[in-house]
């Protein structure tokens, strides 16, 4: 849903997206310890596996983006995690694009990273039910953020896209609700079973 293929966006937008994503990845990698790589990678693999599943919604189905949840659990490492997953998807499945890799990474990772930065400390301290509500709202907002960024990337690319982009934002509404609910229940489960998963990543652990 948020994967813009090659051949849609304009050159300046592709370059800007690439630069922004590279900046995010570089910052995150500097903060990521070698020893945290297995944890980050295996959790990313879990998110990747879940996002490939189609969640039934009445007669239709959606794929979860999980940006908010990833931001809460991975922190800034969401940038390299999303980049690597998108790279693999485009190379192996031809899904997404090579030139739009930077834009797509930025569009999904930035809202997630912001949600993680703002809400992770509060969620780590809160009770299970309060944490679930916070995570649900955060995840819905992360989807809205990604939808907005996708629309903005389209609108900045060409005036022709402006009207379509507005309509496309509306298609994110159902995903917002579902992702908010799933993320909320997920956090409430994790809070009861393994709360340390939601604690801020200890520096240099």
């Amino acid at each position: 849903m948020a994967h813009i293929p090659d051949g849609v966006l304009s050159g300046p937008v592709l370059v800007a997206g690439g630069v922004l994503a590279a900046g995010g990845i570089a910052l995150a990698l500097r903060r990521l310890d070698e020893e945290e790589i297995p944890r980050t990678a295996i959790l990313s693999a879990a998110f990747f596996a879940v996002s490939l599943f189609a969640v039934p919604v009445g007669p239709s189905s959606v794929h979860l983006l999980l940006g908010g949840l990833m931001g809460l659990i991975l922190g800034s490492a969401i940038f390299p995690a999303i980049f690597v997953a998108l790279l693999l998807q485009s190379v192996m499945f031809g899904f997404g694009g090579l030139t739009s890799l930077g834009v797509n990474t930025f569009n999904i990772a930035l809202p997630g990273a912001l949600v993680g930065m703002l809400l992770a400390p509060a969620i780590a301290r809160a009770s299970a039910s309060r944490a679930a509500v916070l995570a649900g709202i955060g995840s819905a907002l992360a989807v809205a953020g990604t939808g907005t960024l996708v629309a903005v990337s389209l609108a900045l690319s060409s005036n022709d896209y402006a009207a379509s982009a507005k309509v496309m934002i509306a298609t994110y509404l159902p995903l917002m609700c579902i992702e908010g609910l799933v993320a909320g229940f997920c956090v409430s489960f994790v809070k009861k079973v393994k709360p340390e998963l939601l604690a801020p990543v200890p520096a240099g652990a």
């Binding site: 293929p5 990678a41 295996i42 990747f48 390299p80 031809g94 090579l98 579902i178 993320a183 956090v187």
Partner: protein, 251 residues
Amino acid sequence: MSLAASGARIVAPFEALDARTRLVAALSLVLVTVSMRSLSGQVAALLLALVMLRLSGLSLAQTSRRLLHVEGFMIALLVLLPLTVPGPALLSFGPFSMSQPGVARAVSIILSVNAAVLSTLSLLHTLEPVRLGRALASLGLPSRLVHLMMFLVRYQSLLRDEATRLVEAMRARGFAGRLRMHTWRTYGNLVGMLLVRSVERAERVDEAMRCRGFSGRFPMRANRPLTRADWRFGCALAAVLAALVGLDRFS
């Protein structure tokens, strides 16, 4: 690894090429494709992509499934463009009219999106993730990013199997996925369970790695030098791409 080609492994001519050559070739092909401005340039790029597909040995049937996935995503944009871009109407029915520039825009997107996907698939689809990682490392991608990718490749199929087992267990207990709160709660628990299991797996992996004295570096086999075939393919592709750019600018 199961991430690579889902069907039988194909012995393609591209298999003889170095992974670095294939990566650089795919990237330049896609870059040239998306830079096409004229209709003739875009058609030529699509034809070139079809030639690459032919050379890769992948069948159209294998790739059409992938293409459908991409088209499924773009349908919203393609339907909306003719209706929303202002311009002289080409066709009108009731309150809706399809404008000429809108249709032209949609056609040009269909051409270049497909050309780019076909080019990427034909050059990279059969590349094993391990070779891809090594090639990316030698092309200058930071080593931590490459490690992250190698781990992701290794564990994504494992965790996908784990997720499939959890979903099957849900179905065995009579889960139907109807439109109600119970469904979302179940999926939330599913995602949570998968995360808990994967972080516990990560702890075990981390301990095993420490046990063996992991020092932050993985031994990687050195790249073999580029062969004559790599240079020949690279030069031929560069000439074709230059011709394509020329055609696009002067048509």
